[in-house]
């Protein structure tokens, strides 16, 4: 056990899985010689060689398609899309092929593909380097969407994603890259589709995902000073959704706030609100409140701070929930 950054936890996860399984390979722009735009894949080329760690041209559609083909025929590709905003260039391959291929071929193949990509704000880099697109992918049958909330989660969830037989969109939270927590040096897995109660409380349930988990945990400490005990559920995966863990918490606290960095319409929060309305309506003492970014593109520079949600927004949302909306 040692203090490890989110960045190094990701590297360690890839390293361990490449050592474990000769079918795992990594491709992407700048992943090999330069070790990744953010150093996430540093050292892997030297260790595993150029067949398994490969730089690619800037051709998102081709490299994702290559990954799908290789996955369908027995390898375990990790394809890096440098920023999630660029994933739209590979959308046909992901949405029409990775997601549907098992179904359309009647179960002849499975697609153990991981598309790793940096998502979210934090670098103040504007609308083409900052989005969180989990709901775009969660909407498509056949895909899984993973959003690790700290370094411990990042390692365990990435290792599970690489071993998973289905295509996974793995959203690395760029504002967490340098954040350190205790991470075991050994092999451990965190199952996909199992949420985690990060803090217990009796007054309100806050379901958070990705970067919003750390904002929420800080908000919960602040709320505790006022005597409000929030239960914080880290959803971990936007798809599959761990309905049981979320509903059990809502039934206990009778209030629900959902926090994510993407905008509200058609988002993860809308899905969780619908889940509560369908399965736990009579347990709710207040309307469900969503904490999200504003419905705009993400501007460059410090203006980002105005658009994206933070700790303050969560505290305010909980106050509203406690007051009954």
């Amino acid at each position: 056990m040692s203090q490890l950054s989110y960045r190094r936890a990701l590297t360690q996860a890839i390293d361990e899985e490449m050592a474990r399984d000769a079918g795992v390979f990594l491709i992407g722009e700048d992943v090999a010689d330069s070790g990744g735009a953010f150093g996430l894949t540093r050292g892997l080329l030297a260790k595993y060689g150029e067949m398994r760690v490969r730089d690619t041209p800037i051709s998102e559609e081709a490299i994702v398609g290559l990954g799908i083909g290789a996955a369908a025929l027995g390898l375990r590709p990790i394809v890096e899309i440098m920023f999630m905003d660029f994933i739209f260039l590979a959308m046909d391959q992901i949405a029409n092929h990775a997601a549907k291929m098992r179904y359309m071929y009647g179960g002849q193949v499975h697609i153990p593909l991981v598309v790793r990509t940096l998502s979210g704000g934090g670098f103040r880099a504007g609308m083409h380097h900052s989005q969180s697109l989990e709901s775009v992918f969660g909407h498509i049958p056949g895909l899984k969407v993973v959003m690790p909330s700290d370094a411990y989660e990042a390692k365990g969830l990435l290792k599970s994603s690489i071993r998973d037989p289905d295509p996974v969109i793995f959203m690395e939270q760029k504002s967490l890259l340098g954040a350190k927590v205790e991470v075991p040096d050994n092999d451990y897995l965190i199952p996909l589709g199992v949420a985690k109660v990060r803090r217990t409380g009796s007054d309100v349930t806050i379901v958070a995902i990705g970067i919003m988990v750390s904002h929420t945990l800080q908000a919960a400490e602040e709320l505790a000073q006022e005597g409000i005990e929030a239960e914080v559920v880290d959803a971990r995966t936007a798809m599959p959704i761990d309905s049981d863990t979320i509903l059990n918490s809502v039934k206990k606290t009778n209030r629900l706030v959902v926090a994510h960095e993407a905008p509200a319409p058609f988002g993860f929060g809308a899905e969780i609100a619908a889940l509560a309305a369908e399965k736990a309506l009579y347990y709710l003492d207040a309307p469900v409140i969503r904490v999200t970014s504003k419905f705009t593109p993400i501007p460059v520079g410090r203006s980002e701070d105005y658009i994206l949600p933070g700790k303050k927004d969560i505290v305010e949302a909980v106050h509203r929930a406690i007051k009954g909306g």
């Binding site: 490969r54 041209p57 559609e61 398609g65 290559l66 290789a70 046909d92 009647g106 002849q108 798809m239």
Partner: protein, 328 residues
């Protein structure tokens, strides 16, 4: 192309058998479609069967082929049971994809056929993956990717050609140029209509060949396949060919001249090949008739089997979304 490769007697017969059967298979499907026995659409490959036949007969078992989207000939020549292919096209449970994929999305990985897609141009990146698997595993297998002229205006074509050449992937790209992208002639789709020429920009050989000339097409394909197999890199082959039916069955075909269709039909490679097999004394008239009669019986049996097969059950239709037990 260097010298024309000689096709031995055994292979000539194999080509004739498969070409004849593919033609009758396509004709049977077209008739069934006209009678309303096929749901959705049917994209006939009549007139373009020869390439798929050559590939199906000559590729090795461990090669992968991403078939040209009209090419039922590829499936049949590769050994996919006709009854299971018809059942798939009819959306029946006994089809090669359980009746869920249908005509445009059919694959049979056990016969090395993979990557079929309803999206024009999407096959090329998928085929890169099949070629990469061969490279990664150090096999002498290759990947072959078929597509039409319309796919060459997609970004995926450019990306895939570049990456295949850059990584020296063991792949042969085969563009079946039938002169029309759906209902639009090539000249309205691209300024440079000599598709094979485009290969030069990516650093690979590009060769155009008359797809109704068996010997020339066979030779060009064998050279490109050998090149890929010997790790000398990818090739782009432009096969000039023609579809006799519309883009889809029922297409009024107002965009092309009937004389053009007739001119291609007059060059049909099927009777030429039949005469050659006969005149070289490989099969006599009775043997040819027997062979053709056997295929009629096989087709009738396959159609009857497919029509009698059940449609997928609700349970079938909810399966295979994920490999793991996953629900929303």
């Amino acid at each position: 192309m260097s010298e024309i490769h000689t096709i031995d007697e055994q292979m000539l017969v194999a080509f004739y058998r498969n070409l004849y059967f593919a033609r009758r298979f396509e004709e049977t499907l077209a008739d069934m479609f006209r009678r309303g026995e096929i749901d959705g659409w049917l994209h006939s490959g009549i007139g373009q069967e020869l390439v798929g036949v050559i590939l199906g007969v000559t590729l090795q078992a461990h090669d992968y082929i991403v078939p040209y989207h009209r090419s039922k000939a590829t499936f049949l020549a590769r050994g996919v049971p006709p009854r299971a292919l018809i059942a798939e096209i009819l959306g029946r449970q006994s089809g090669i994809c359980g009746g869920v994929g249908g005509e445009a999305h059919a694959a049979d990985v056990s016969h090395g056929i993979f990557g079929s897609t309803g999206v024009i141009g999407a096959a090329l990146p998928l085929a890169l993956g099949a070629a990469f698997v061969q490279l990664y595993r150090h096999t002498d297998g290759i990947a072959v990717c078929g597509f039409g002229d319309g796919a060459t205006t997609q970004g995926s074509f450019h990306e895939s050609m570049n990456l295949a050449a850059l990584w020296n992937l063991p792949i042969v790209f085969i563009c079946e140029n039938n002169l029309y992208s759906e209902m639009t002639p090539l000249s309205k789709e691209m300024k440079e209509t000599r598709i094979a020429k485009k290969a030069e920009a990516y650093g690979m050989p590009g060769i155009a060949v008359d797809g109704y000339d068996l010997d020339a097409t066979y030779t060009v394909l064998q050279e490109a396949i050998a090149r890929a197999r010997e790790n000398q890199g990818p090739s782009l082959i432009e096969v000039k060919t023609y579809r006799w039916h519309g883009h889809y069955e029922g297409d009024p075909e107002e965009y092309r001249d009937k004389n053009e269709v007739e001119a291609w039909r007059a060059r049909d490679p099927l009777p030429l090949l039949r005469a050659r097999v006969h005149d070289q004394g490989i099969l006599d008239s009775q043997q040819l008739l027997d062979l053709e009669k056997n295929f009629e019986d096989l087709l009738s049996e396959a159609v009857a089997f497919a029509k009698a097969s059940p449609y997928p059950t609700p349970e079938n239709l909810l399966s295979n979304v994920y490999a793991t037990n996953t629900s929303a």
